[in-house]
Structure formats: C-alpha cells, structure tokens
Amino acid sequence: MSGELIVRAEYSERDAVVYLSGEIDIYNAQQFKEKIYQVVENSKGDVSIDCSDLNYIDSTGLGVFVGALKKAKQNNRDIHILNIRDNIKKLFVITGLDKLFIIH
C-alpha cells in the first residue's frame, strides 16, 4: 500500500522544489496545505512541485494546489508541476486546472 503522504522541500537561492510521495485526499489535505503554503511563503522565487511519486490526488488536494497558486501569484510567482503521472494529469485536464498551472 502507498497510503501515507510524504512532502519534502528543497530550497535554493532562486526557488524551491517540493517532492510529493504517496496519496493526497481529504484525510491529509489539511496537512498538505500547511506544508505547501509554507514553501510558497519561504521560496525566493517560483515553486516546482515534483509529482513523480504522487499516485493519487482528490479534489480536496487539487483545491490546495489552486490555493497555493493564488498565494504564489500574489507575489508574482508561479507554480510549476513536474513529472506528473498520466492518471493525475487527467484530473488536471478534466477540471481545467491544466490551464492555470505550468505543467512540464
């Protein structure tokens, strides 16, 4: 099973990268929100979210992504999404969120 969520952040002089691993759903979305908002706040520039090991996200988690983006935009910054899996990409497309985020 791959239930639990691990959020790991790396800061550089220019920006920050967040590595997500596991699942994001209503159970841990609040915990995810606190961590990702903190990174957006502390980053010196854009924030990249590496989703290589994210195997599930629900609408609650997607809502946190949107909230984090709004927060970033207030400081003229962007959120980049890296290495997203097909099943999660599909959710971004269906909900139209693929047009808000920079998906690499």
Binding site: G3, E23, D25, I26, Y27, Y56, D58, S59, T60, L62, G63, N87, L91, I94, T95, G96, L97
Partner: protein
Amino acid sequence: MELNDRITLSLPCKAEYVSVARLTASGIAYRMGFDIDTVEDIKVAVSEVCSRLINVSKNSDGEYEILYEIDDNRLKVTFSSKNIERAGCIFEDDKDGLGVSIIKAFMDEVEFCPDNKDYILSMTKFIEEKS
C-alpha cells in the same frame, strides 16, 4: 438487464476511511474486468462522493453506505445514509466544483439529486464491449 450481485460497504463519516472505500471500489471494478484505467476512474469517482459526504455531514457519528450492483455489463454505485444531515443534494452548493467535474467525466451516468428517493447519489459505469 438483470442485476446479479450486490456488495455493500458501510463506513463511518470520517476522512480516515475514504481510503478503505477506494480500495474496495478498485477491488470490485478490477474483479468485474474493467481495464486498469477505468478501475482507477471508478475509484476516483467513488472517493469524490465520499469526501463530499464527509464535508457536508456535520456529525462525525454519521455513517453511510455504498451499494455496488454488479451486472454483466455495468457497475452501479449507490450512496445512502440513515443519519447524515443534509443527505440529499450533497453537491448543491458546489455544482461547478472540482468534485462534480471529476465524477461527471469518469462515470457514464450520474443521478446527483434523486427526487423522493431514499438514497443520496447513484452512478453507473458500463463495461465496453470488446470488439
């Protein structure tokens, strides 16, 4: 179209058990022979309904039931609850929400606000004919 098998999962209205609903949904869809992408879609749709139910239910003592009706050519999933407040139109305040878009995209038929029915929501996925 004759309904054959019925599986019911009854869960507390708590966020920690939505993962259990997802596993059960995957197991049923997989056993029915849906392809792996469709199994994932059904799992995601079921999970969205659970999350919403938990969000609208103010009482964490609440319980809800997920009924799976398994047929040769389709899976019908029906949510109901005896003690959730505001069970009924759970997506009413959130018609354009992310959850609704996902459920509509992933299921073939969705009955969001059943009139005078004793269930909350019902959704169906058909098995594609192999050509």
